[in-house]
């Protein structure tokens, strides 16, 4: 029950919670707390809040960064783009599964093999990774872009292996590799590499320890 005495001790409870008790009143407060469960609860409730206050950098309070004006629009258009590419990915996934089934049979003889098929665009090609761990189906669509090569990666089954971050690379024929970005798990991902598509000789994926997981030549 809150009494007048409790009200008298409130300020001291707040100061004590923050580790700044008035030494002259400490004994009196201790005696009150001894017999007052309500004030003990209040102290227990305020102490973690006062501790949390120690995390504050007062200089950051004045000017919280405002999100850039266009961010809301970018969020909506990013989702619009993902929605579109998910629809495309579903089509590619079917193509990749068919290609990999063929490649799997051929790979028994040839070891490592990738199938390339021209798509509707003259500068785009789909590459299905024939050298992939069991249960992993993956393909990329490579298309030319002003900055190099746009890569739409479609992976299924990799998330079952590990929760690692993977790296997608393009290599030129001289072996120099250019990172196209990182990804985790399965799905359809848009990436880009600063290597012209016509110079690309190999597309491959490494895991966090730089081991090659997926690998295919590019025509």
């Amino acid at each position: 029950m809150v009494t007048d005495a409790c009200r008298d001790w409130r300020n001291e409870i707040a100061a004590t919670a923050a580790g700044r008790p008035d030494p002259l009143r400490a004994q009196g407060l201790a005696a009150h707390l001894e017999g007052c469960p309500h004030c003990r609860d209040e102290l227990a409730e305020l102490a973690p809040v006062a501790r949390a206050l120690q995390l504050v950098d007062p200089d950051r309070l004045a000017d919280p960064p405002a999100p850039p004006e266009g961010l809301g629009r970018s969020v909506v258009s990013a989702i619009r783009e993902v929605r579109r590419s998910d629809a495309r990915a579903a089509r590619w996934r079917r193509a990749a599964i068919a290609a990999t089934a063929v490649a799997g049979a051929a790979a028994m003889v040839a070891g490592v093999l990738a199938l390339s098929t021209r798509t509707d665009g003259p500068d785009a090609q789909i590459v299905a990774f024939a050298s992939a761990p069991d249960g992993v189906v993956a393909s990329v669509e490579l298309s030319e872009a002003a900055w190099g090569t746009q890569i739409a990666l479609d992976v299924d089954g990799l998330a079952d292996e590990t929760d690692d971050v993977y790296w997608l690379w393009l290599s030129a024929s001289d072996g120099d590799r250019v990172a196209a970005g990182t990804f985790r798990g399965d799905g359809h991902m848009q990436m880009s590499a600063a290597l012209p598509l016509e110079d690309a000789a190999r597309v491959w994926v490494t895991d966090a320890s730089d081991e090659v997981v997926l690998d295919a030549p590019v025509d």
Binding site: R10, N11, I13, A14, A15, A17, A18, R20, E45, L46, P48, V49, A50, R51, A52, L53, Q54, L55, V56, D57, P58, R60, L61, P64, P65, A66, P67, P68, L71, G72, S74, V75, V76, A78, I79, R80, V82, R83, V165, W167, A179, T182, R184, A208
Partner: protein, 178 residues
Amino acid sequence: MGRAPLVLADEAAIAAAYRAHGGELYRAAVRSLGDAPLAEEAVQETFVRAWRAADRYDPLLASLRTWLFAILRNVVIDMARARAVRPMLSADPARAPEVADGVDEFDRALASWQVEEALRNVTPEHRIALVEVHVRGRPYGEVAAELGVPVGTVKSRVYYGLKALRLALEELGWVDGD
């Protein structure tokens, strides 16, 4: 039940969720990534993941804000780890050390952000009393003199300020403890 949008099913719902929480997600991302462009990317990715997982969101289990913050946390950790794996690929190597490189650091940054955000949500009188007395560690008397109020008033503002701050923190999903 559940006043939050049921799912982020359409663009209007996404835009509404962004208007409600985009600003605070962005500030939390800036705080933990230490970099405005990366924070933008993190917020965008958070909404993309939320949209993809919209059918798994249950407003009865968590508020939309709590859910979005949980996603942001994963996004930021992924981004920080990806940079840690290949720090040499950072466009600006000087920026890399500022990135929180693990769960603990993210949580610490998020905790600091939460308290700062909560402090902005209490009245200016309470905020000033809490900051001057308990953050800057100034004597009550000095703060009272500066504000032109009795010492008892400052002490009382600290008390009510702590109570208000607790509520503001809880609204942000703060859990009691360190």
